[in-house]
Amino acid sequence: MEKQSYQYIENPLQVTRREFITIGGIVVAFLAIPTVWITLVTSSSSRYLQARTKGLYQDDTKAAVRVSHGNKSVARYYKEFGGTPLGQISEELLHTKYINRTKVLS
């Protein structure tokens, strides 16, 4: 034992230089697979998602009025100008039509 502790160990892992390069290459290739990185960091990105989500729910909780039909300014908009939901002015200004875009695709 005593003797060994003074020995210079050139290759403690018992791998040749060629094997070391191969292993290194495999590790690099493994890390190059995007899904590996993604799994490694999804926890951190979902932390940001959750923080922002919480921020908006807080904005709701602290609001004095929490239902759209209770928005006095929206009621005033309809009374002074817009008429009723789905009424004539609403259809003209607040509703739209969509376009079939597949015809041009083919």
């Binding site: 990105s45 979902s46 923080a51 928005n71 100008f81 200004l93 875009r101 597949t102």
Partner: protein
Amino acid sequence: MNVTAKTYQKGEIPGVIAINATVCKGCDACKRHCPTGAITGMFGTTHRIDVDLCLSCGQCLINCPFGAPYETSDTVDEVIAKLKDRNNTVVGIIAPAVRVAIGEDFGLPAGSLVTGKLYGSMKKAGFEILDNNFTADLTIMEEGTEFITRARHALFGEKSEHGGEIGPLPQFTSCCPAWVRFVETRYPTLIPHLSSAKSPQQMAGTVAKTYGTNVWKKSPESIYTVGIMPCTAKKLEASRPEFNAAYKYNKKNGRGLTNKPYPDVDTVLTTRDLSRLFKKLKIDLAQEEEVAGGSLLADYTGAGTIFGNTGGVMEAALRTAYAVLTGSELKPLEFKPVRGLQGMKSASVTLKDAKYNKEVTVKVAVVHNMAENIQPVVNEVLAGRSPYHFIEVMNCPGGCINGGGQPVCSSGSSWISAIRPWFAWK
């Protein structure tokens, strides 16, 4: 500009997102975030976006570890010029998700709710404020009423008041332009299922240039509307040529001064764009005073603000639909089953329709992260065996709070910030 683009109308931005070929490493990471498979290119080679398939959602942009995708439309300097020109009233339309993300660009913790500081910074820059949450409430009034009409038609055979056609169930939400374009380019047979209500952004532009002329006492031509959005697809939405309803209305009613058509929303800035604008004008949002919105068009409710979260539109719509149908408020107001990050959420509410004195069970579903979750829902509706009455769809994972226009590096909504320390040379 791509001259071969076929799925765009004249005047529309043909694809808001492109990939910078000299930066792209071909690592394929973006592909799994793309809802339509619009990104082509072999592993290791430069990737390209097929603009006809692309929805301009920007998910590839916020998730690329090398920052290769970029926005083809940047109007920060144009907006600054408009702000400096005193003849204009520049109206900033602030989307819900912006107020919990923009702080990240000014060193505040993720998720900080900075509505007051954001108003303060906008006013300092010269904007009038139209809170998009106001029009989110307006959207609920329109889309919720539309849903009740459709449901009563399907369940009780009720006829339309104005003799118009009533769309089928399930009704899909229409606030997300990436989802709308997805339907338009792939499943046009589903178009009647989309709510005809415009998105809050487009309602805001129209209201600003019609009713807003009374609020700000300005002519419609001098009002310049800027969508401030967490979203790159909103840039494409605003460029749709049919969105000049305010111009048509004003002309018909003799309220206009000119015959030159103007769009409802003149331009769109993403959350990132707005941060750049503030920085160019030397405004530090973190240090700004908190101020109030300043007009009735900035008044909003808790229901309007949760639009930015997945499930938020549905929750807001249920609160109002419940009250309209039963005559009493939903208790508790928090509707937990539609919250959270599961790919697909569903719930049902049994209530009594006071008008018909009958019990009905309303079944709703909420989908986000279209890249992973949309196909089964679409297939069910196409096959005519969807059990739901009302379905909310948002393209981005988590909803607009994680939109393609939100802050990237500082926030870590992309995974680059977590990976960066691994690159010792950076």
